[in-house]
Amino acid sequence: MTEYEAVIGLETHIQLNTQSKIFCSCKADSWNDPPNTNICPVCTGLPGVLPVTNRVVVEKAALLAAAMHAEIQPVSFFDRKNYFYPDLPKGYQISQYDRPLARGGYLDVPLPDGTTRQVTIEKLHIEEDAGKTKNDNGRRLIDFNRCGVPLIEMVTGPDLRSADEAAQYLIRLRQLLRWLGVSEADMEKAHLRCDANVSIRMVGADYLNPKTEIKNVNSIVAVKEAVQTEIERQIREVEAGKRIEAWTLEWDEDAGVLRKMRSKETEADYRYFREPDLLPIHISEAWLAHILQELPELPLERRARFISQYGLPEYDADILTGERSLSDYFEAAVALYPSDPKRVSNWLLNDLMRMLNESGKLASELRLTPDYLVEIIRLVDAGTVNTTTGKSLLDKVEASGKRPGEIVNAEGLAQVSDTGAIRQAAQQIVSANPEQVQSYRKGKTTLIGWFVGQLMRETRGKADPQLARSILEELLSE
């Protein structure tokens, strides 16, 4: 059996999260808005209008380019890409062609086996989105809300080697986009769209075989499945002595199959020319420096630093840097509790992550601030509350917004470490349950857990469990 490897490149369209559109002041995000409610003469291509570029689009694009290690061009141009389609009211899309905003660049993608795949970027430019065509029983209805929404088109080199790597690239890209705050990067809402170019070759070969292009893949899982399906199909074809033709395929998510799309005869004849209505974008050194002030420490850098600086396991560091505000939260908490970063990490991974998942909030939106979390950990450390109470405090602080110490006082949650009080409660339980006491004394010592449970219930969870256990053991062995 011959060994094949897949050669995959991804073309992504990233919707920037600006307030307004790229060349007019209409609201950019129309999610849940009725059709044709965020449109104006500019984005619907009425005669006599002129586009004016949104400053923040250039800034967010430059920020992303810098994070992709691309070379930001001091001068770049807009071009018209001409084609006719009903959802493209001007008859051309304003894009960039031979003088894009940035050149080169790469994204490092850590792989599950511990290695890193460096994925090169072949193309990174700004463009406007087109509208939406809806087919409704043979009728074609057009919604122009999406016309003029700012996009970054980013195309990778043929650097990915498996369906899983393609998925990993998208996961890391999505993480980066959210980290930078340039896009919501929600694939289900089409903020991040992906086409995949797939071919196969013998392992170790350095040439490229004809590729197919898969369109309409709207989730990371779908990209993985569609690419895997196509790799397997190409291997079957080649094994059967057939040639791979440069088809365009569409992924049918429900059926899990790829369908061949009809190719347009005039495809790729877009007759690009300079957009005469727009002047070139000049990014001065001063402006670029201003933009790059917003460039944060990137996720992979922070992940590496968490491992080296705080001695965290890779697993912890990866999860904590999965999202920027969670990693900021961790650092703020560790600054207040520098003696044991791993202990802070455990509280975040075990408890805070659950709260975030349940509430759908970002770490920065919690009322349980890093300050309050550390206060709870210290209350547990000092033995003021036991671990169970400490964990229940997390939700109480989140619900009330009050300081943990305040809640402990108001609700009388402090751990009972008073031997007398615990002994009294233990004696009551022992005398009230003669049957259990008898079986314990006959050798069923596992019942100790039940006795401790009774005592914790009696003291509303406040007793020091270790102390309770030893007192109970003492009473029961008498």
Binding site: S25, T53, N54, P276, H282
Partner: protein, 111 residues
């Protein structure tokens, strides 16, 4: 070295001296124009004349002259990112040939 008889833009290389009939048909197709045989012949002639003229300009030595994309001061004005209401729907739909469910309705198109 510049090749004689070609206009060489950054985008396409068009043989200037005689545009073929097929090229005229292709351009018409891209512009979604249906031309009669007489029109094709006429446009072939006219477009060839335009390209011939461009070819003459190509004879100039522009080796050390940067391309001119615009004669205006070369810096795009930028707009703050502040959304404003656009046009009311009824205003925008006024000139539409056909509308349905607050959307523009278009005839079926070839995919």
């Amino acid at each position: 070295m510049r090749r004689q008889g070609f206009t060489q833009s950054r985008y396409v290389i068009i043989p200037a001296m005689s545009l073929t009939l097929e090229e005229v048909e292709h351009i018409a197709e891209l512009a979604r124009l249906e031309l009669t045989e007489a029109e094709k012949a006429r446009y072939r002639e006219q477009l060839s004349a335009v390209l011939d003229y461009i070819a003459r300009l190509q004879e100039l030595d522009t080796e050390n002259i940067p391309p001119t994309s615009s004669v205006l001061p070369a810096r795009t004005p930028l707009r703050p990112d502040v959304p404003r209401p656009g046009l009311p729907l009824e205003e925008l739909m006024k000139n539409a040939a056909d509308t349905e469910q607050e959307q523009f309705r278009v005839p079926p198109v070839l995919d």
